[in-house]
Structure formats: structure tokens, C-alpha cells
């Protein structure tokens, strides 16, 4: 790690060698960073580099396995969100945490309302809140409920909320993601003003182009480690991207056989649009081809898959093997050979309280009808076959899916979709939150599907994965394809530049 050029004497926050493991995943593997009073430290890295985990540790939402946190040079023992607050740390997450029905003052003072004995002291509350809001130059009417505020107004209330709790260090996660240009200018001016008062910021952003304007120093995380810290003025964007991507990308991926250029087109999607989420798109996927959709979280990639799979209503024309298929509901799309593996397996992919067998057969249960009843023996047989084929670790097929590890849960999701005779597979973040061993098995499976002539579309936020496992990729930004790359032209920095809108 490089030490910045001009280091002020006092250090507000220091995090040393922070390590955090989740079952099967080493999320943080020795992160070290420091923040000085009145400074903006930008934290950048790919999805999954460990930024959110690190910030959750700082906020007291998670506890580190090892490593230390120092505040004003003394060891801080952050055990829960309240203690983080006492140390002067304020978190502003990307998803705001305001009570929609309450106004600015009530939200700011939630949990710390000034009271006279049993009763709220409205006058005191008002003067307390008003002081902070004026300091921030707020014009939000006091009776406006949070639900009716603009995103920028809500963000202001969030900032006021941490300031009224005497925060000296404010962590902001993707603060500009939902703001207009004008609102961003306003936010940056506000940050500068608070900096002058000695408030420090940890600023997490994917928008590399805005870091020049806002950051004093930049720390790059990769694979749960700090790889570099430099003064923002001495960190050209291409070097920053190189530091983020780092490792050679094709090390642990299986060799991808080329697609036969005469292979028939299996999937064709026409007129895919759903303003304001995404706009007019058209693409085809050949038999045996894996098409990647790269881009930032929230770029609209998931919505594209959902529209094709019938999860959301869409006017798009979807053709499989040249025949238009109905896709008004997921059931219709499934019946016509489409399989959609959602990104959030717990919320959308599995019925956690059901068994491995019941989950495996759920999407193709019609195959197991025997008269009016279900042929459970056949169900059992098919499930066992898939458990064996995918090496799913489960004591038996009656085990509740809830009790399996993430990787094995994902294999149950895969089994569910392998059971049918799908021609098209849509994978949304197929390896999220699972360990490297299970990842490798899933990659092998993708290849096997492609080899059998399926058309595959894969969304992944892990750049190495999308570079290693696809034949061709589109970069999605703000709901539209901004670039297309053939495998031979894959360059991580160019893809990141396209995804972030950085024009280098």
C-alpha cells in the first residue's frame, strides 16, 4: 500500500488488517485504510471487492473476525450500530432508511427525541433539527412526509440525521446514483462545506469520473484487500481501473469452446423496451453460445432478463428456434423452453421451507402427474439423479432447502431448471455468494449446457466471470446497450469504462 503524499498529523479513523469471513466466502482479507479529519476518502472496487462488508463493519452491522479499528488513535470497540454512532460514525446507505410517513424533523430525531419526562418536547425538537437543517441550507417544508420528498431531499434528511447525532465521519454509499447533475453539484458543495467544518467522508462510488471532483485520496479494494491508496490528483483513471481489475482474468475458468458460426439462432429478442428502465434492444443468441450482459448494479440487466422470462409484463417479441413464444407469464415461457435463474435465490429462486425434492420438481411438476396424483417415486428418482449429477451436498432429498449452504442451494436452483428440456437459459448472477469450488462446478455446467446446444444469457457483476465465461458481451448502462464486445476484443478496462460511462 502506498502512503499518500500529504498526510496530516491526526488520524480520525484507521482500519487495520480487517478480516471477515462468511460461510464459504472470505469477504475481507486484510483491509487497511485511514481517514483524516475534513478529508474525503473515496473507496472504489468491483462488485464483490468488499466495500459494503467493510462499511457494515464500521457501522456495527457486522463484526470483524480480526483486525482493529482506531478512532482518534485509540482502539474503538464497535459492537452495534449504537456504538458506531457514539464514535461519531454516520452511515448513509444507498437505500435510505427513512420512515415514509414522517417528516424531516421526526425522521432526523427518530430514537433520540428530546422529552420532558413522558412527553415529547416539540419545541426543543424543532429548534434542534432546524439548526442542523439551516446549516445544510435545507428548504424542505417541515410537514412534508419523506415519501413525498425527492431523492435529493431524502438524502439531505439522511445527512442531517447523522449530523444531529454529531457524526464526524460520514460514510456514503453510491450517493449520486439517483441524483440529477444539478443535485450532484449541490451535494458536492454541501460535502465541501461540511469538510471545512472538519467532517470527514468515506465516499463509495462506481462513477470513477466524479472522483476527481470530490475525493482527496482514493483507496482501491480488490478481492477483500486494500491494493492501493493514492492522492486523487496522482491517480489517473486507467491506473485506477487496472488496480481494480488486477489479476489475470482467465486463470480459473474452463476453456470455452468457440461457437460454430453456422450454429442456428436459438434465441432472438426483438423490440425489447420498457421505458424508463430500458430502451429498444434487439439481440440473438446461437446454439451453444453464452452471451454476457455486463454493467453496474442497477443498469437494467436484471429487468432485461425478467422481461424475456415473463416475470414482468413486456411487449418484446421473443423467438425460440425461430418461433415466437408467448411470455405473458413465467409459466408460458417455461412451457416453451425458457429457464430463468434469478439473482436472489432466497427471495425468488427457492421455497426455503420445502424439501430438495419439492424444489427440484416445482417448475416442471406436470411431468410427474400420474392421473390425479403425483408420482412421488418418479420425483424421488429424478431428484436423486440431479443431486448426483450436480454433486449437491445434502443428506437426502427430503432435507429442507433452508438447511443447505449457499452453494448447494444454488445447485438446487440449477437442478430445478435442468429438469425440463429448456432451450434457453437466462442466468442472473449465477455464482453470487457461493464459494470457489461451487463456482467452478457451475461454470462446468454452463459449458455442458452450451455444448448440448442451449442458448445462454448470463448477467454477472463479477468482471472476471463475465470475461471468462462468455463468447460475446453487451455492456448495459442506464437501460441500454452501450457497447458490444466479441471475445477476441475483451479488455477489462474498456468494459469498465463503458459500464461507468467514463470516456477515456
Amino acid at each position: 500500500m502506498n502512503v499518500s503524499a500529504s498526510e496530516p498529523s491526526a488520524t480520525l479513523l484507521e482500519m487495520r488488517d480487517i478480516v471477515k469471513t462468511f460461510p464459504g466466502v472470505r469477504a475481507l482479507d486484510g483491509v487497511t485504510l485511514s481517514v483524516h479529519p475534513g478529508e474525503v476518502l473515496a473507496l472504489v472496487g468491483e462488485n464483490g471487492a468488499g466495500k459494503s462488508t467493510l462499511m457494515k463493519i464500521l457501522a456495527g452491522a457486522h463484526r470483524a473476525d480480526s483486525g482493529s479499528i482506531l478512532i482518534d488513535g485509540a482502539v474503538a470497540n464497535i459492537t452495534d450500530p449504537r456504538s458506531a454512532e457514539r464514535y461519531g460514525i454516520g452511515m448513509i446507505y444507498q437505500e435510505f432508511h427513512l420512515v415514509p410517513t414522517l417528516g424531516a424533523i421526526e425522521n432526523m430525531l427518530l430514537g433520540i427525541e428530546p422529552c420532558d419526562g413522558f412527553f415529547l418536547n416539540h419545541a426543543k425538537a424543532r429548534s434542534l433539527a432546524e439548526h442542523t437543517l439551516t446549516q445544510l441550507g435545507s428548504t424542505i417544508p417541515f410537514d412534508l412526509p419523506a415519501a413525498r420528498m425527492t431523492v435529493a431531499q431524502q438524502q439531505l434528511v439522511e445527512i442531517a440525521k447523522v449530523l444531529v447525532r454529531r457524526a464526524r465521519l460520514i460514510v456514503m454509499d453510491e450517493p449520486t446514483a439517483a441524483l440529477s447533475e444539478h443535485e450532484i453539484d449541490h451535494l458536492f458543495a454541501l460535502i465541501a462545506k461540511l469538510q471545512a467544518d472538519g467532517v470527514a467522508f468515506v465516499y463509495i462510488s462506481h462513477r470513477l469520473e466524479e472522483l476527481d471532483r470530490i475525493a482527496d485520496r482514493i483507496t482501491v479494494l480488490r478481492d477483500g484487500r486494500t491494493v492501493e491508496t493514492r492522492a486523487a490528483s496522482a491517480f489517473p483513471r486507467d491506473e485506477m481501473i487496472a488496480a481494480m481489475v488486477g489479476r489475470s482474468i482467465d486463470t480459473h475458468f474452463p476453456a470455452l469452446p468457440p461457437v460454430d458460426e453456422h450454429a442456428p439462432i436459438v434465441l432472438e429478442v426483438l423490440n425489447l423496451q420498457q421505458p424508463p428502465l430500458f430502451r429498444s434492444m434487439h439481440f440473438t443468441v446461437r446454439a451453444g453460445e453464452i452471451l454476457g450482459l455486463a454493467g453496474l448494479v442497477g443498469a437494467g440487466r436484471t429487468q432485461i432478463l425478467r422481461a424475456i422470462a415473463g416475470a414482468d409484463p413486456s411487449d418484446a417479441l421473443v423467438q425460440i428456434d425461430g418461433m415466437p413464444i408467448p411470455h405473458a407469464t413465467p409459466g408460458q415461457a417455461i412451457d416453451h423452453g425458457l429457464a430463468f435463474l434469478t439473482e436472489d435465490r432466497k427471495a425468488q429462486g427457492l421455497v426455503l421451507g420445502m424439501s430438495v425434492r419439492e424444489n427440484t420438481t416445482l417448475a416442471h411438476l406436470k411431468l410427474f402427474d400420474r392421473g390425479l396424483l403425483l408420482d412421488t417415486a418418479k420425483e424421488e428418482q429424478e431428484t436423486r439423479r440431479l443431486v448426483a449429477a450436480l454433486h449437491t451436498r445434502t443428506p437426502n432429498t427430503a432435507q429442507l432447502v433452508r438447511n443447505l449452504s449457499g452453494g448447494n442451494q444454488q445447485k438446487v436452483v440449477l437442478a430445478k431448471w435442468l429438469l425440463g428440456q429448456a432451450r434457453v437459459f437466462l442466468f442472473d448472477e449465477p455464482t453470487r455468494g457461493i464459494d470457489i469450488g461451487a463456482k467452478m462446478e457451475i461454470y462446468a455446467l454452463l459449458l455442458a449446457l452450451a455444448e448440448k446446444g442451449a442458448a445462454i444469457v448470463m448477467v454477472s457483476s463479477e468482471l472476471p466471470e463475465i470475461l471468462g465465461m462468455t463468447h460475446r458481451l453487451f455492456v448495459v448502462r442506464e437501460g441500454t446497450f452501450v457497447a458490444e464486445f466479441a471475445r477476441a476484443d475483451y479488455r477489462a478496462d474498456a468494459i469498465i469504462a463503458a459500464a461507468t460511462g467514463a470516456t477515456s
Partner: protein, 326 residues
């Protein structure tokens, strides 16, 4: 497998313990075949309502309208039976009457489900509304008075016995209990062994995952409310037959007793978990409790207090068991 086995054996032990205790408490008066049959007859309508309710609750819904539907279908069926020519064959009349009642109950269930499925309203609200509407309609149609049956074609359905005198100590098998047995067995198979039943569990366990797996969530949800309405009509028929009249007052509070039986039977109000057999055991345990308190001449007000306590205890026990077994 092992988990289910432990759970079943524990439930069985609890049941035996209850019976032994009850037997001791009642100096042997409880555990006579005659009294057991008596309990079964007493729980018939509650258990049938609870069977329908089980489907609804497993999808994470609730049906508050069933008590009122018992009286509405009862009144409608009594009016219908009275309007039919006296020359009609008795069994044919019973079947036709039930078909009409089931249509009315099923239709009410469909109306319950429509706003739930299409507009996303909470079923608590739609079925609460139906509870009021159906009760009001029953009073309107009957002008506030019970509608006495002209025909005696329903006598055996309500109060008849099968195998009478085959065993000296048994009065025979009451016909309503036979109905109960058929309902329990048929719906236990529907819930446990068919694709429809599997979808019911899947929706209660994770509606979005079920939808994305191609399950027609709207159709299945509508079906469970229709089914619950049909169960209300069956209970309505049995009660009407038993009292030889369709009364707008019957069924008051039955919806809550049915929910109690479902919950005591181990079905989770959160959805995704439960069984018809469990519901039957729940209804039976509540029936035993009522029976024992009757045998002890405990007044009905005190009975309700005890019943409330027992329901709470049963659910606490079930939750604890679930945690321990996890």
C-alpha cells in the same frame, strides 16, 4: 424423515397423554366408544370448516367468512329444498341441495379471492367484508327467522346412523361423522398427494419463487377460497339437516373456532406449513376439551377461558418444538 418421525411420535405421545389424563379426570366416562363418537359428531362442522381453512392458511391467507357462509348456504339450501316438489326422490333432493349450496359457497369464495388476486388486497379485509355481507344476506333471505325444512329427506343426513346395533356398546356411526371422514380423507389426499396441493404449499412458502417457477398463483389462490366456501356449504348442509331448518343465526363465531383448530393442528399462519391430518387432530383435541368440560359441568363461560388458554399453549408448544427440532 427423522424429523417428521420424531414430530409424529411426540404428537402421538401428547395425544395418548391427553386421553389418559382426560380419562382419569372423568373417572372413565370419557373413554367409552359412545363418548368418542359423540365427540366426533360434535366436531363435525368445525372440522370440515377447518379443513377448508387449512388450504387458505397454508397459502398465507385467512378466511373469516366461513361462519357466515354456513348460515347463508343453510338458509339458501332450506329455501331451495322447500321450493322443490314433494314428489322428488329424497337422495336426489339432498344432492341437488348440496350442489346449490356448494355453488353459493364457492361463488362467495371466488368473490373473496378476486380482490386478493387482482388488486392485492389483504384477505383479512375481503373475507371480513364477506362475513358481514353473507350474514346480512342470510337474514334478508330468511326475514330474520329460521327456515324450517318441509321435507324429511334430510333427516338421515343430519341425525342418522350407520351400522346401528352392530356393536352393543356403540350407537352406530353417525352419518355426519361419515361426511367428516370423507371430507378429511379426500382433502388430505388433495393437499398431500396432488400437484394442486404442492402448489398450495409453494405459494405459502414463497409466492414469488412459485410464480417464477410457472405456478399460476392467481388460479391456485382463487381455488383455495372457493374450496373453503364449498367446505362451509357442506358444514351448512349438515347443520341445516341436523336442526331441520336453515337459520341465519348458525355459525356465529365458527370462523374463529376453525382457525383455532387449524392453528392447534400445527399449521403456520405465516403459510407454507401444515396438514389436513394435523387440522383434524386440532379439531379433535378442542372437541375433547369441550367434552371433558361438559362432563365436569363446567359452565360455558369458563369453558371459553380454558379454551383460549389451551390454544395459546398449543401454539407455544408447537413453536418450541419447531425450534428444538431445527
Amino acid at each position: 424423515m427423522k424429523r417428521t418421525f420424531i414430530k409424529l411420535s411426540l404428537a402421538l405421545c401428547a395425544l395418548i397423554a391427553v386421553i389418559v389424563l382426560v380419562n382419569a379426570f372423568t373417572y372413565g366416562a370419557f373413554f367409552t366408544p359412545g363418548n368418542i363418537v359423540n365427540v366426533l359428531r360434535q366436531i363435525t362442522s368445525n372440522a370440515i370448516l377447518a379443513v377448508g381453512q387449512t388450504f387458505v392458511i397454508i397459502t398465507a391467507g385467512i378466511d373469516l367468512s366461513v361462519g357466515s357462509l354456513v348460515s347463508l348456504t343453510g338458509v339458501v339450501m332450506a329455501l331451495f329444498a322447500n321450493a322443490m316438489p314433494a314428489s322428488i326422490n329424497g337422495s336426489v333432493l339432498v344432492v341437488l341441495t348440496l350442489l346449490l349450496g356448494a355453488t353459493v359457497g364457492g361463488l362467495a369464495g371466488w368473490i373473496n379471492a378476486f380482490p386478493v388476486v387482482r388488486l392485492g388486497l389483504p384477505p383479512f379485509i375481503t373475507t371480513l367484508a364477506m362475513m358481514l355481507v353473507a350474514r346480512g344476506a342470510a337474514y334478508e333471505l330468511s326475514h330474520g327467522r329460521p327456515v324450517p325444512l318441509n321435507s324429511d329427506a334430510f333427516m338421515s343426513t343430519g341425525t342418522g346412523f350407520l351400522f346401528r346395533g352392530m356393536l352393543p356398546q356403540l350407537p352406530g356411526l353417525p352419518i355426519p361423522v361419515l361426511w367428516l371422514a370423507v371430507v378429511v380423507i379426500v382433502f388430505a389426499i388433495v393437499l398431500g398427494k396432488t400437484r394442486f396441493g404442492r402448489y398450495v404449499y409453494a405459494i405459502g412458502g414463497n409466492e414469488e419463487a412459485a410464480r417464477l417457477a410457472g405456478v399460476r398463483v392467481g388460479l391456485i389462490k382463487t381455488s383455495v377460497y372457493v374450496l373453503s366456501g364449498i367446505c362451509a356449504a357442506i358444514a351448512g348442509l349438515l347443520l341445516m339437516a341436523r336442526f331441520a331448518s336453515g337459520s341465519p343465526q348458525t355459525g356465529t363465531g365458527y370462523e374463529l373456532q376453525a382457525i383455532a383448530a387449524v392453528v392447534v393442528g400445527g399449521t403456520s399462519l405465516v403459510g407454507g406449513r401444515g396438514s389436513i391430518l394435523g387440522t383434524f387432530v386440532g379439531a379433535f383435541l378442542i372437541g375433547i376439551l369441550n367434552n371433558v368440560m361438559n362432563l365436569h359441568n363446567i359452565e360455558s363461560y369458563a369453558q371459553e377461558i380454558v379454551l383460549g388458554g389451551v390454544i395459546l399453549l398449543a401454539v407455544i408448544l408447537d413453536q418450541t418444538l419447531k425450534r428444538v427440532l431445527k
